[in-house]
Assembly symmetry: C2
Homo-oligomer: 248 residues x 2
């Protein structure tokens, strides 16, 4: 009754995109590549701090944990920023990737739900250093209002619309319990948020044009459990059975 419209509650998949193809034509970057660009970016950052000026696709591929052919193909979607026979200029490539992703300027981010996880997210330094700036922490619980977390005061959830308008927030992070997530998402969308990172274990339905990405801790563990179970039946509770594999 409350949810906007639209099906297509893409959990990890992206939104349909649609007309973007028509606009730029030939500058479409595959989703799989987009997901790897931040990894390359981080590797390049590390190289810069290490003083490395130039690197080959092979070196960067190793640092990013991917195949070098895949790396080159990924980079080719951005343009030709390397020099044959030489490699890539680390700083130049770093800038080009950052520009393509859009993290050359800061993005304003709000976090809704300042529980344990929200706390951790607010304090996560990786945001600040990667082009994101947390501009507001919101929570529905009055007991939290005014308390300082990571240098910011926790504000009432009803400040949402004001914050979005004043700061031009486009990205919202949901760290609430599952039951509240859809309502929070609806309010965010209504306020003008067009990208949502959802940590709550629930499927969000949002209108087309709004991107939702989901991070689910227990799902990750369950995927690991599946593979673990296949390796060898070791129920984890009886410690002894683990030895059966190697030793004897």
């Amino acid at each position: 009754m409350n949810a906007p419209t639209s099906a297509e509650g893409g959990p990890i998949e992206s939104t349909p995109v649609g007309d973007v193809t028509a606009r730029v034509a030939g500058r479409e970057i595959p989703e799989a590549t987009v997901a790897r660009l931040p990894v390359y970016l981080r590797a390049l950052h590390a190289m810069l701090e290490h003083g490395t000026v130039t690197c080959s696709s092979e070196e960067l591929a190793v640092a990013a944990g991917v195949n070098s052919a895949k790396l080159r193909k990924d980079l080719s979607y951005l343009g030709s920023y390397g020099t044959r026979g030489v490699g890539y200029d680390v700083d130049y490539l770093r800038y080009q990737i950052a520009r393509e992703i859009g993290v050359t300027q800061d993005w304003a981010v709000i976090i809704v739900g300042i529980g344990n996880l929200g706390h951790a997210l607010a304090n996560y330094s990786g945001f600040r250093t990667r082009g994101f700036r947390v501009v507001a922490l919101l929570d529905a619980d009055p007991a939290l209002h005014g308390r300082q977390v990571a240098g910011l005061p926790v504000r009432p959830f009803d400040d949402l619309e004001t914050v979005v308008r004043d700061s031009g927030v486009a990205i919202g992070v949901i760290a609430t319990p599952a039951l509240a997530a859809q309502d929070v998402a609806d309010r965010m969308v209504a306020a003008g948020v067009t990208s949502i990172l959802n940590f709550a274990p629930s499927v969000l339905s949002v209108p087309a044009g709004v991107d939702v990405r989901k991070v689910d801790l227990s799902i990750e563990l369950q995927i690991l459990a599946y593979h673990e179970q296949r390796k060898g039946p070791q129920p984890a509770d009886d410690a002894a059975s683990r030895l059966a594999g190697e030793a004897s």
Copy 2:
């Protein structure tokens, strides 16, 4: 110098798997399907709590946020647990998926790195209710040792081997800073851990046979930023420019 051997530090991809194909033959579940099974499981759980006894593939698909054809194909890899013309028995299907994933019994999990994130993970109730039991919290910082977090004492990192042996831990969670992550992973692997969930922003290299899954908060945000940037050039900092997209 410290890292074990093996390349293939699969970030999200799974391990090579290898001989498993030969062992069971015909019971291989595609990785993409494995990643969705926990979502179905959660939806079924919700239905059970709601008192729903039977559901169609369409209903479950909507609840899980996927296409119904995809859902049916996914379930078909497990076997034929539905009834044509009727649908699926919610509780029966829930059990079958849980069994396939391997969460009918509890898995012991350890968390290394009890900072803000480790704190949040230790308190995350989703673990306990989904077949995972946090058996130990480890941290290298002596200042934390002995402090109670989520009902468990923080123990020295050097207790790792003891804990793994005593509890038969197969799954380790890394919530340390990036620099420590590889060392922690190495110690975990040496101690017998064969599945790792890595929250640190670094590429881990582990031997074949060890699964690593990575959760990277800033990467998720960067992917959102990319799509956000494509929607319309709205730099987020200057709030006014947000209007420029449509008008004029």
